[in-house]
Amino acid sequence: MAEIGTEGVKVVSPKFAPRPTGWVVFLRTFLPWQLFRFVWINLKMIHMIRLSHGGVLPGERKH
């Protein structure tokens, strides 16, 4: 498993994993931003549910 830079079989304190900046971490619990994301996530989910209930991919004909 050495190809991805593991230290033995267990990966401990990896140096190669991307870490979020302070700004990204701050935004994750910043209320005004999260209220906006809440609306956005719900819209994405509703859209995906609608697509799924169609039973076909966009542009595909129903059998």
Partner: protein, 484 residues
């Protein structure tokens, strides 16, 4: 008057039964057979397992709900299906064994016109020596398991408060497990709770999984457009684990869980061990072990069920290499190819093949994540099958509803810590669940409908979903308006 029997009162069976009764009204009978007295909203067991929710918040007695709906309920487990009836019983029937305390062990035959197998998984702890609550590790697959796991975590917290160091191991207990998403939620919630108790510095938390890479989740991972790149979920998962100080081991098949360590083999064929004080390792899933008999009483189990115990439906089960897998291999109507009045939905149907690429160690041990059948697809299958049965029974000539996992998406909200103002969750949508490389040659999925992000908003969505789905399952006012 016709009769539909639904085996299982979980996500898929309960959805199917509720809609069947709504659509069939008093003209036909709907019967549910399930061994437990209570309905359990399984996704929230994660929170029970870390002490953020009480068992009463994730389950409720099912019989009063069925009485309200007008559904006949038998607290029993299905044992065998007789799709042709028998010498002394003309109609097809299912043999059940009661688990209700007053009739425990009593057997009965329930005749049916249509039968839906929604029995979910057998939690196959026996596949790994020492795995599970009767061995040396915990689970959060049932409320009882989650409570025992919570108690073990709280005892460990007590020890850490006295200054002891504790090692936690979370993940999958076999090379062929699925449901990594649940274990992911558990490990991140555990880390969050340990921080809340002020003992995080005393804890070493390690993730151990059969996935080929972090973020595989049995779906080969997902690709997301982010920051000008198309990025694999591995990067996001590794990033979250690194940020939370979680160690990880992957491509692992656990051979044995001992009292204080697991012995495991990795995909490169080498053996290892990892010590722990508390372990939460999910079991592999199998079918619940239903038997099937023909009219003469001959055993036809192998014809109806795949070797792993899941029921065969309208999928393409021909053995073919990974490169030749097609989205069209996946079932659309969940109907058995031999008996057109027999269906299997949710975890109970046999997938044609995995979604993640199958791999074996040099010793021949299969180590890869098997396909997930999460809540939303399971409920959608249940509803589609219910609609097709209702149309047939009411004599309506409508084209059948399909619910292929290659034509539906999934919304997943993976909790990463519960708190009204400081909680977070990874909210994701994937479309479609089973990649279709003919329709989307590069990534198999439509990237404009596949997204993921971590934040407090995701946690709010997760909490709201919990209450919405509990409301829906209890058939409270407006339940039909809540999507699957």
């Amino acid at each position: 008057m016709g009769r539909v029997v639904v085996l299982g009162a979980g996500v898929s069976g309960h959805t199917a039964a509720a809609f069947l009764k709504k659509w069939l009204g008093h003209s036909h009978d709907v019967v549910v057979v399930s061994p437990k007295e209570k309905y359990n909203w399984i996704p929230s067991n994660i929170w029970v397992g870390v002490g953020c929710m009480k068992p009463a918040q994730v389950e409720f007695p099912i019989k009063p709900v069925y009485d309200k709906f007008g559904i006949e309920f038998h607290q029993a487990r299905a044992v065998a299906i007789h799709p042709e009836g028998s010498a002394d019983h003309d109609k097809p029937f299912v043999e059940i064994e009661y688990t209700e305390p007053s009739r425990d062990g009593e057997r009965a035959r329930l005749a049916y016109d249509h039968l839906i197998n929604a029995t979910g998984p057998k939690l196959n702890f026996g596949a790994t020596k020492g795995l599970g609550p009767e061995g040396h590790s915990h689970s959060v697959c049932t409320t009882e398991h989650a409570v025992a796991c919570r108690d073990a975590v709280h005892e460990a917290i007590g020890r850490m408060k006295k200054g002891e160091r504790q090692r936690f191991l979370v993940g999958t207990g076999h090379g062929l497990c699925t449901c990594q998403g649940a274990a992911f939620e558990y490990v991140t919630n555990l880390e969050f709770v340990l921080r809340k108790h002020g003992v995080r510095d005393k804890a070493e938390i390690t993730w151990l999984s059969n996935e080929y890479c972090l973020g595989d989740f049995g779906m080969g991972g997902i690709y997301i457009k982010r920051g000008g790149y198309i990025t694999h979920s591995r990067i996001f998962t590794e990033s979250l684990f690194a940020e939370r100080g979680l160690n990880w081991i992957f491509r692992a098949h656990v051979n044995e869980v001992c009292e204080d360590r697991v012995l495991f083999e990795t995909l490169d064929g080498t053996d290892h061990e990892e010590e722990f004080d508390v372990a939460m390792l999910l079991p592999p899933f199998a079918g619940v072990g239903l038997k099937a008999h023909d009219r003469k009483g001959g055993d036809i189990t192998e014809r109806l069920f795949a070797p792993n115990g899941f029921m065969k439906v309208d999928a393409d089960y021909s053995a073919k290499p990974y490169e030749e897998w097609k989205a069209s291999d996946w079932p659309r109507y969940y109907v058995n190819p031999e008996y057109s009045n027999l269906y299997a939905v949710g975890i109970a149907f046999a997938p044609p093949h995995p979604i993640s690429q199958p791999r074996k160690s040099p010793r021949g041990t299969p180590i890869f994540a098997t396909p997930p059948r999460t809540g939303m697809p399971s409920a959608m299958m249940g509803k589609a099958v219910a609609s097709n049965i209702a149309n047939a029974m009411l004599g309506r000539k409508k084209s059948p509803h399909a619910a292929s996992m290659a034509r539906m998406g999934a919304g997943c909200v993976a909790s990463a810590g519960a708190g009204l103002f400081n909680g977070t969750a990874a909210a994701m949508t994937v479309y479609p669940v089973v990649p279709d490389f003919d329709a989307y040659p590069e990534y198999g999925r439509d990237l404009s409908h596949t997204f993921g992000e971590i934040g407090l908003a995701g946690h709010w969505v997760k909490v709201i979903l919990h209450y919405m789905f509990m409301h829906k399952a209890q058939g409270k006012p407006g339940w039909t308006l809540i999507p699957e």
